[in-house]
């Protein structure tokens, strides 16, 4: 039996209900551990203490945009290869351009289905 490599995911969204929902959905997948953060500072703290394969970030955060947050992380060598997924409720040209420039091509527009999310996480059902 092939053991799936354990994958850690961090979710950053200031809407707690969204965080919990994504956590519950991802719990259904075996071999996944989900951590949630409701602001960038909390997220930063958790990233420093744990290794994550995927980072799900909301674009519309209170203090700054999700892209600003990803940009800061990408400057640090060891966070470069994390699979970043940007979620947003609104598609704006500015946001898409910024994301692509940063090399983030995984954008999920709310409302999305779990299979879209799983697809972006490259997890086969």
């Amino acid at each position: 039996m092939i053991e799936l490599k354990k994958q850690n995911i961090l979710i950053l969204d200031d809407d707690k209900q969204i965080c919990t929902l994504l956590q519950n959905l991802l719990k259904k997948m075996k071999g996944i551990e989900c951590v949630i953060a409701s602001d960038p500072i909390e997220a930063m703290y958790k990233i420093e203490n744990q290794q994550f394969a995927h980072l799900i970030v909301e674009y519309n955060l209170k203090q700054k945009t999700g892209i600003d947050f990803i940009r800061n992380l990408k400057r640090i060598e060891k966070y470069k290869d994390i699979n970043y997924i940007l979620i947003s409720s609104n598609v704006e040209k500015k946001m898409v351009m910024e994301a692509l420039q940063l090399g983030v091509s995984n954008i999920l527009v709310k409302p999305f289905e779990s299979k879209d999310l799983f697809g972006k996480l490259k997890i086969s059902l």
């Binding site: 209900q17 959905l25 609104n90 709310k110 289905e113």
Partner: protein, 499 residues
């Protein structure tokens, strides 16, 4: 009579006798009528000469002999397929028994007037369109925020629906019960959130001119709710400061909301890049003033003193191109003026204050009726008002002050029936549309208890039919259409009681 002078005139002139037979006409008339002089000369009277014209010449001839001089209304005449407008001036020369008739061709003026009227109408239409466009514009500015507000709960709802689907595939459903319950709760809450957003948007966009009695605090809450997303993301602190509550005004809710949203949007724009951005919405009333005020106060950039005069002008804006239309404040001030109020700007201590003043009805708070049951009140002129909306009861109570009528309020038909078991009243005013017991049901029950107290219905225009149905059946004496003024209320009470 020397007529040589008339021949030099450009205006058509003719002279007729008392039987309206032409005696003389000048050259201008020949040119004007585009007929040969021979034909004109042959005309029996004015009627045959101006057969195209609908004008009562006989009456004019007899009138001018009494009055000496008359001016006709404008009349239409079609000559060579050209439509012209004429005014006849008739002058009576008594000594000669002759009547001088001058024709005034007012076609040019008439056409100009029509054109002018059309243009004014067009301007009015454009003006309405601009107001609507500004409304859409402010909606546009809000769309990003609204999309977020809607899509977030939508994600929660659809995600939880999936959660339920997952749970249902489990073999033992009992262990999943809790998760399914919490998911379905989340779904319902989220859908409720969406419904509220859609409702407030619809109300905002709905073009209605009706005015209602509204508690201003409600409007402030709703406008702030609308802007929530915008100020949240900019870290602006927004505070509501109610100096005086229970302020009710006769206003168009949507329009006042439009004004408030506009002022809040301006305040948010003005506090961009300011340290500790702060906006306060204050509701209050200056002593002795017949007006209430809503202040929108921000600590933003402020308005340069040179611009303070211009900000209410149409198309004046200091915002970037594409961001503002320069219409917001113009329209806001128009809306407030249509409510007999005023919107003003004040600046001091680094604060920018936009003040909306609206005429108000002072409302005393509607309290329990217990004190009434203890007696001490004369039996005459006691009136019971039944309405499920406390606002309306408050309003009636304040309308009753100094009228000599005693007010008793009740928020539902059941309570009202109980009150009526204990005391007698001279008149009952009841709303028709109430949640538990309708006005009709209430009066039916009342009559079945052999209580013949006169009843007046109070309702919106849409319920007139109910009144007509119950008028004879249940002895309903009158209908008070909402919104009503103090005078209307008092008038209907007095006329019902005296009859």
């Amino acid at each position: 009579m020397d007529t040589s002078l008339f021949d030099t005139l450009f205006e058509p002139v003719l002279i007729v006798d008392l039987y309206s037979k032409p005696i003389y006409f000048n050259n201008a008339l020949v040119t004007f009528l585009k007929k040969s002089p021979r034909i004109i000369k042959k005309s029996e009277n004015l009627k045959t000469m101006f057969y195209e014209v609908e004008y009562n010449f006989e009456k004019a001839i007899s009138d001018v002999q009494k009055k000496g001089q008359i001016l006709s209304e404008e009349v239409e005449i079609t000559l060579d397929e050209e439509k012209l407008f004429l005014v006849f001036k008739l002058v009576y020369f008594e000594d000669k028994k002759l009547i001088l008739i001058c024709l005034n061709d007012i076609s040019v003026e008439k056409r100009l007037h029509n054109k002018y009227r059309e243009q004014i109408q067009e301007l009015k239409n454009v003006h309405d369109q601009i107001i609507q466009a500004d409304k859409l514009n402010s909606i546009g500015e809000l769309t990003a925020g609204i999309a977020h507000e809607i899509n977030n709960p939508l994600t929660i709802a659809s995600g939880n629906a999936e959660m339920i689907a997952f749970s249902l595939t489990e073999r033992d459903l009992n262990t999943e019960r809790e998760s399914i319950m919490s998911s379905s709760m989340d779904i319902m809450n989220s859908l409720g959130r969406i419904k509220n957003i859609i409702n407030s948007m619809k109300e905002f966009l709905y073009k209605s001119d009706e005015k209602e009695y509204v508690d201003l605090e409600e409007i402030i809450d709703r406008s702030i709710g609308f802007m929530q997303k915008a100020y949240k993301s900019d870290e602006i602190t927004l505070e509501k400061d109610v100096k005086k509550s229970d302020i009710v005004c006769l206003i168009n809710q949507n329009k006042i909301e439009q004004v408030l949203i506009n002022l809040l949007q301006n305040a948010i724009d003005a506090t961009e890049n300011v340290d500790f951005p702060h906006i306060t919405v204050e509701l209050g009333k200056e002593p002795e003033s017949p007006f209430v005020y809503i202040d929108v106060i921000d600590n933003g950039r402020g308005i340069e003193s040179g611009n303070a005069e211009k900000i209410f002008e149409t198309f004046f804006t200091t915002k970037e191109i594409g961001k503002g239309t320069g219409l917001g404040l113009t329209i806001s001030s128009k809306i407030i003026k249509s409510h007999d109020g005023e919107i003003t700007l004040k600046q001091n201590d680094g604060k920018t204050i936009f003040r909306i003043e609206l005429p108000t009805i002072e409302v005393s708070s509607f309290t329990d009726n217990e004190n009434l049951f203890q007696g001490n009140i004369a039996d005459e002129n006691r009136i019971l008002v039944v309405d499920n909306e406390a606002n309306i009861l408050n309003l009636c109570k304040s309308f009753f002050a100094d009228t000599g009528f005693d007010f008793i309020g009740s928020t539902c038909g059941e309570d009202a029936l109980e009150i009526l078991e204990k005391i007698n009243v001279n008149l009952i005013i009841t709303d028709i549309k109430m949640p538990s017991m309708s006005g009709t049901e209430f009066v039916k029950e009342l009559r079945s208890r052999d209580n013949q107290t006169p009843v007046v219905y109070m309702s919106g225009k849409d319920k007139i039919i109910n009144f007509q149905e119950d008028k004879d059946k249940l002895g309903v004496k009158g209908l008070l259409v909402k919104p009503f003024s103090r005078d209307e209320l008092i008038k209907i009470i007095k006329s019902t009681i005296s009859s």
